[in-house]
């Protein structure tokens, strides 16, 4: 039995359906990310789990018990808010101890647990400061400590790293992942940043228009996207318009323009239907000859050096953009130069809309 279950949960705001019959099982201790663009319903879903929104239909269960109607203060989970929501009239120590106070925990125990929680986020020395005297990163840690000190079964995080600068964000991503492993607490994390999701999650639920379009491990969403939307949302990808000609199991033959190609897929196709071939830029390389399947002729347009990787932007004859990563150290092509690129069939995924 999973720790948290959502069964066909729906939420409407007037005419707008924010969450459309979502069903989800969250396992104990896992780091699950709800990933999506704004308006995808991810935050609303989180808020329903927390208790700040009431589902219009469906049930939410924790440990098999129905918590759908329970107010937030009766649920055994805690939230880290997007803008931290630290109580301005209390100092750090009082903020962190608030939940324990409300639960009528003994004073000495509160003191001890608060101290330990603050040490865990390395803020022990700032215990007596008011929130306004802390930096964004420090405030974020206080919010984290304030939630964790209560030892919740589930920790809900609503885009908590959005306001931090890049370097700090990356550090915190790792820290959160470690905390999840260390404490064994289930994390449900909401973000629109796919890289963040890939970094931290055990599983990702990609949401679009109030529904989950793919749920699985990061690797799976990356290598085997279920639809064009997933392929496009996660990581960089090339999407080449293609037509399926034949299918055998997971293997497909298709045509891109009039070039024959082979690819993999996760669904069944009717021959003749159009689709998209998704190939990641890092899987494209220059071919040693023009013979063989999976070979496309492109014209180089631009080269952009970003430090970590050199991207070469090219185009097919019909104008479709194709991006590839150029190996480090090699001389990138001049604009206008013609190239033949190829990829392994296993690296090409054919997806529908």
């Amino acid at each position: 039995m999973s720790l948290l279950e959502l069964r066909s949960v729906t939420k409407r705001f007037g005419d707008f359906v924010a969450v459309d019959q979502i069903s989800l099982d969250v396992a104990a201790g896992e780091f699950l990310t709800l990933l999506g663009a704004s308006g995808s319903g991810k935050t609303t879903t989180l808020r329903m789990v927390a208790g700040f929104e009431h589902p219009d239909s469906g049930t939410i269960l924790m440990d098999g018990a129905d918590i759908t109607g329970l107010p937030p203060y009766r649920r055994d989970l805690n939230t880290v808010f997007q803008q931290y929501a630290l109580f301005p009239h209390m100092n750090v120590r009082e903020n962190v101890g608030y939940g324990l106070r409300m639960r009528k925990v003994g004073r000495s125990e509160i003191r001890e647990r608060v101290t330990r929680a603050l040490e865990m986020v390395q803020l022990g020395h700032l215990a007596d400061r008011p929130p306004r005297k802390l930096s964004g990163g420090q405030q974020q840690r206080v919010a984290l400590a304030r939630a964790l000190v209560n030892r919740p079964r589930v920790l809900l995080l609503d885009e908590p790293l959005g306001a931090l600068d890049l370097k700090l964000r990356k550090e915190m991503q790792l820290e959160l992942k470690h905390l999840n492993r260390q404490l064994g607490i289930t994390f449900i994390y909401v973000t629109h940043d796919q890289e963040e999701a890939l970094t931290m999650s055990d599983r990702i639920a990609l949401m679009q228009n109030g529904r989950i379009v793919q749920l699985g491990q990061p690797r799976v969403l990356y290598d085997r996207p279920a639809s064009r939307y997933v392929a496009d949302f996660i990581g960089e990808t090339n999407l080449l318009p293609a037509t399926v000609t034949a299918q055998r199991g997971d293997d497909l033959t298709l045509t891109i323009g009039n070039v024959a190609a082979t690819a993999t897929t996760g669904r069944s196709w009717v021959p003749g239907t159009p689709g998209w071939l998704a190939v990641r830029p890092e899987h494209l390389r220059v071919a040693s000859g023009t013979a063989g399947p999976n070979r496309l002729t492109v014209t180089a347009r631009e080269t952009i050096f970003t430090g970590q990787v050199t991207r070469v932007y090219t185009a097919l004859a019909d104008g479709t953009a194709v991006v590839m990563h150029w190996p480090a150290g090699a001389t990138p092509p001049e604009p206008g130069m013609a190239l033949t690129v190829t990829w392994e069939p296993a690296h090409g995924v054919c997806v529908g809309d």
Partner: protein, 272 residues
Amino acid sequence: MSVTTRRPPPDRLTPALWAAGTGVFLFIYLPLVIVILYAFHDAKIVAWPFRPFTLHWFTDLAHDRGMIDAAVASLKLAVLATLLALGVGIPGAFVLDRLDFPGKAAFERLVLLPLILPGVITGVALLTFFSFVGLSLSSGYPLVPGWPVVLGHGAALTSIVVTQVYARLRRFDRALEEASQDLYASRLSTFWNVTLPVIRPAVLGSALLVFTLSLDEIAVTFFLVGRQNTIPLQIWGLLRRGITPEVNAAATVIFAVSVAVIVVWARLMRED
């Protein structure tokens, strides 16, 4: 290559602005300064030239039975009015901020009415009300200066509390209340531990405002007061009779108290 730099055109506006602004500032302050100055005027009639310096008007004031009684009455009235205004105004602000009900717009306008209408209108309206209802203007005397005037101040000044607290509530981050509930505090507990402390400056600030406004209130009080005068009415009486610098002394005391209140209020607001 040489480049000639031209200086920016002379700014004739700014000095003119400073002159005008300072002039207006003086216009606003000089009369007050004169009143305070003449509180120390060593002569019976308030006339030019100014004769320094005496404190005996202040001692006269301290012995003026009428003034002292009026002061006590004014203080009682102010305290009661403040309590009433807070007791009704704080819930009123929350009602405006959080509830939707038919007639809400009308309620909002109604609450603001005493603030924007000339006090005379509110005063006579309350007078007709109390006389119709049969509540005597001197009822409650000597405990209170009169129930009508207490209720009248409370009613008229509730708007102050409502507007101030409502303004603060609109800036209030609801996530704080959600966080509190997330941390196991019930709604009531959340209100007490989080909401109220955060809006405290607005509450205290508006209490101070109501207190001062009540002390200085003339228009509504004029119509509702019973046997016992408040300070403004007492001064009004003195002014009708003939001016001695004792009035200036009273004015100076009032000025000092007002400034003190404003300073406290400003500090409270800055805290926010």
